[in-house]
Assembly symmetry: D3
């Protein structure tokens, strides 16, 4: 590097300089204002980018290399602090743009509510969309203490929009009784505790379908992801999550977009969670984009 | 304690059981959703209460004892996550109630924006209200990136309401050029860097006036208060802040309410800031209430 | 909440206000003065209560809800710092009272030695008592460097009182050679390393027996419970511990009391351990009380 | 170093190998079982020794060098966990031995109660002993919640033994009303808030007297010593404490022993407090021993 | 302990005082200057020794006791900061000495590059040496950004020296594509992701061979070892690593030396990793030395 | 921001996009391999940049604004891990380039040794160069345990090059006896403990002289800068350091370059030190560049 070159740090490792030439766009959604417990996921995307410099570009799992894929890290979408509705509108508009340009969207949260406007945009483009959702929590509330815009509601909103029978939730280990009952009644596919095994059974039924994959990092056990807002014991290992991503990669579903949310660096005292997130993103890039 | 008595932990030490008999009401305002930097002050009031069990009830500074004052810790006002306007409305309504009952309000933040509805309520009762404001930041913005409800705006709103000449800011060491210029133009009293000395000069001019005291913990140097959202070098020591509180206590102003805001426990790795906040509240109780 | 209502924070979530109407009493035993390594478990009960506000009231494992059970959180038993004998006497007296009133005792430590006086009280009421003990450590020493009152001795004392053949230890991975040999000689049931599997074999043999369950949080691997005094690699996962609790819940043993000890918040940098403890208590409440 | 030499790590830097030839003996008193708040000072001496390798041997304040003084670090006195009375007896016996051999005792705590048996031993040898006590707290209680052996009582016990008029306390900023009143009544010399200035006035009156200096690290502001059990805002800076030690060093009092207590590494997240303690010990060695 | 005995703290628990009589020599290699990511492993050996006081001397896995083996902890080899070549030369020379005296070398890193000079020394004595290597990373680079002395290169150097067919790597989950390809081409034995299972298959083929075992602590998942320079999700559990050590212990290979490297205490917020390392060393001592 | 614009995060706030048009060049020197104590300052520049987004652009101290100055943040100079000599050569070469282009160099360390090649380059251009050096440590060793390239030697090297009478050190509170003696003998200007006061006296004597200002963050007390390799009690406050920078800004010396070194984020648990460093850089930019 010559010292008079422009410095452009803090993008995900190997980000391609050209938006036009890139197949994938990585973007951050730094919003955490509706969380009921520990805030801080607004800083997730920035820290994931920073530590991405430490991961290898090659995946020994998939035998693929980041150098063989063109993706553009567009940075964080600027969102107004404390204004949930406006933030969600901005995200939807942003996604509309990306999809109009034919890009594969790979988002980083932020709280899980950011997935809601993304799904709205995806659904406009893919009317037969299915959602694969990995999470510790059902996220099926209609509102949280009266507030419809809450990090506990995105999957409910998605179910209402695209139909509950098109939602596949995995690894769920926490929620209100009413949420579990509602899921059952309306025919949502909700798998408790495990991810990899039920996923193996489900994937063949989704062959050929356009699928959006949303991963809440807290699907991992707190041992594997302490850096998140709500830690809940009894989760899966990072090995199982990696295997689940690879299972999707090797399946016949057509992944059309994905996100990884709820990484909160302030609780991540050894940078374990942000490094894990960074590795997961590499596997999602190499495994989901074809 | 007999084991069949109701347990009522987590109130400020020596809180009196009766609201009716108490002169002062302590309450928390656990809101942090408009902050532009590090969130987390929503947990301030709860942690301050917990560690209050470790402070002595006697002040060797004021030679007074908490046992000689009746105050009631009412807990936290329940506020809707991520909804700023509604939160502020609830706080104002709450204060209206307290003031109607003749109570001295002693609030704990939360972000500094919570002071805005409190001042609105105070001003309805005390039309000649003056404000003593200790802070690292001017908090004089009209809006923050377009958003009028922001933690950078409360003092500006207060100035617009009660008149800038009734605002006395101390210890300010950070702000936009425009904020400092505006303060000068409109005749606000803004003292940079120091608190105790300018306060000594100002207090006699406020003798007899009803005064609301709002203290942002970040007026302290980060060495003395690491547990806050925005750390800014060059602040005052805890000794100077204690001396400033005592200066007010010994003056002829009539303190009619006060708050201490922006304590964020997650960044307070040795519990230093919450302990300091707890001690400051003791001195505010013993020094401000007559 | 009206602001003039008494505030009663810091009890375990959904604690019932009436001792008389409650079936279960939750209580803390904040003692840590005989530990040979890292102290700090005295703060365990208080922190577990605080974070309990973050757990769901419903268990998707047991399909039960905290709202369907009446339990009363009586707070911490006040214990004299540094005086082990007096502390243990106070705990025993306290338990005598609870048992006389027909309550199900659910205790939170504190160091493991607090279980000793509880067992003394239980044994007076249930002469055919058996103990299920999950722990990383044997806790079978007669004394620790000459001191008979030590956190390394409670299970030995229990064995001497109720007979070693009535003690069932699981998950043990640390102890002196002499402790393991003693256990073998006297016919204690000591299972190394694993919990769930040997428990499945043992439970049928205990059908109908009154059983006290004592869980040292360090039976978990440090990955799952860093917040404890003695971290020891090679432990079980939180999934296995949850499954073990559920195994007992679905068995025919008659659980008559239980505790969870050695949670030390100061080493729990992401609040992972206290949250896990909080969830375990929910499962113990819903699974053990019938 | 040849690899077959015995390794003797973890002594205070430049500790002399021979007890016999040494003028001073450094020793740890790793006890913290009577503290009412945060335990952990039992690990203070060990950590202070470890980081001592990082300090320079030369004091630019005193223009003296550790290489010119012979002192022997004897390690920690082995104390029985949780047994206060026995621990204190062991310390007194240990000190009797040191004083019989004509050594200058330089102790490291441990909680402040460890100073009590040291003073008992010192007083047997020096009947005209005076005590210089630097602390945030009065430590003048007769008992703590009924317990006479508590970290809140050592100076009271000392006053009762050697006469309150021989106790000089500095920097005190916390205590019960009764403690301050008692000190006044019985003629103890108690100086609030400041150390250096009142010390300058007092030292000439103590010229020639044998003096024991006991420093509780919490006399420092939490900004300067977060790593201690009880943090209390409004303390002195490390510069003032260093100046105070040097003031004594340059005075005509005859220091006959000293200690530094209440360093608790677990709360000392940047190792600031243990490093400061290490430097203070260097200055005490070079300044107090003549 | 009498107070006039020499204190020799900070050696691994139960270290024998005599080098001559000891079969094994434990030594630290506190070097971390070529790491490309987070430095700090230079402090690994010292912290592992300190916490070793907390482990039991008996292994319930192997039914052996440290008291039945003589080993001498020689402390850290003094290495010049920032000078990689000189440091490596010093380590090789040190090992030559140990091996000439017939000692079993058990080293603690430090970064993984320290293993390179150890292997050079071992190979001089054992020309038919095989290496068992457990690690997250291939460590097979020829150089790192042009620098041949890097923590990414030791296994490559070893392969070039003793022949790639004599290197057995386990648990590998990270590396450049070229490294994996090279390993394949030259006939190195590289097993991805798992350790225990492939080890079971390989060990019989190594029966009777002299084997050096080098364990990079990051073969463990970050959940089990956050305190290391490079955390990488998807690793093995501490149970699997313990089982792997025991598998070797029970096999017919002839372990002639071993090391455990890359423990970095600064990232190890609950002392979990150093405690785990301490336990692993106990198992290596009891399992590898015959 | 449109999503297809190139993202260029992680530069110091308000960095100008054009090297050519900029008067000042900011650059990082991420080297920490010769430090004898705690490494980690290699990450200083990156973290300072990141948090710079949180500082105001306006200085109320100097009444100047970053928007009125053009500076270009060139990122970090890529340096080879563990190779000190090569790193220093690269830095010197880099500076030669900057100075040839007429830029004002503003560097961020890294360890203090990085200042040595900068001074070599500066001296080639300014033969009458004087150095203002603020530091806790003398940094005057000829070598450190035999190694001439050490973080303890840069000022000695500078003195040998430009003449000791041209070196002005302030705030020094640590060093070997020989270093202080050498400074005295050769006529270096070394001021112990204080910075602002002696600086006020010295500055007039340097009027018109080209001056390089090098600030080691550890000149601050650990209370004000815990995030550094070597914490040493008795330092100055951040207020005194700010005042010292302003004193230089208002003087008649001609600052021709400056640096701020030894910021180590890993020990900076509340991000206090990196935020302070960011503010100091703003004041250095606005105060030193004319």
């Amino acid at each position: 590097m010559r010292f008079d070159e422009a410095y452009s740090g803090n993008v995900f490792i190997k980000s391609h300089p050209s938006y036009e030439e890139s197949k994938v766009v990585i973007y951050g959604m730094p919003m955490d204002w509706t969380v009921s417990y520990r805030p801080g996921s607004r800083f997730g995307p920035a820290r994931i980018r920073e530590v991405s410099i430490g991961i290898e570009e090659y995946s020994p799992y998939l035998d693929k290399d980041l150098n063989d894929l063109k993706y553009f890290d567009a940075g964080d979408i600027p969102l107004p602090f404390g204004n949930a509705q406006k933030s969600l509108d901005l995200i939807e508009e942003y996604l509309d743009g990306l999809l109009a340009d034919g890009k594969f969207p790979l988002g980083m949260g932020g709280e899980h509510l950011v997935t809601w406007p993304v799904i709205k945009a995806m659904y406009k483009k893919y009317p037969d969309l299915a959602i694969i959702h990995m999470d510790a929590h059902t996220d099926l509330r209609e509102n949280y203490e009266g507030e419809p815009l809450s990090h506990s509601t995105p999957i409910r909103k998605a179910a209402d929009l695209i139909g509950p029978q098109n939602i596949y939730s995995f690894g769920i280990r926490s929620g209100m009784k009413e949420e579990f009952e509602w899921a059952k009644e309306v025919g949502m596919h909700l798998f408790k505790f495990d991810v990899h095994k039920p996923l193996q059974e489900i994937l063949p039924t989704l062959a050929g379908r356009p699928v959006y994959v949303t991963i809440d990092i807290d699907v991992l056990d707190p041992a594997h992801a302490p850096g998140t807002g709500t830690v809940d014991a009894g989760g899966i290992t990072s090995r199982e999550l990696l295997a689940s991503i690879h299972e999707i990669a090797h399946s016949d579903v057509r992944v059309v977009g994905a996100d990884l949310v709820e990484v909160a660096p302030i609780y991540d005292h050894s940078e374990q969670t942000v490094n894990t997130a960074s590795k997961l993103l590499r596997e999602m890039l190499l495994g989901f984009v074809k």
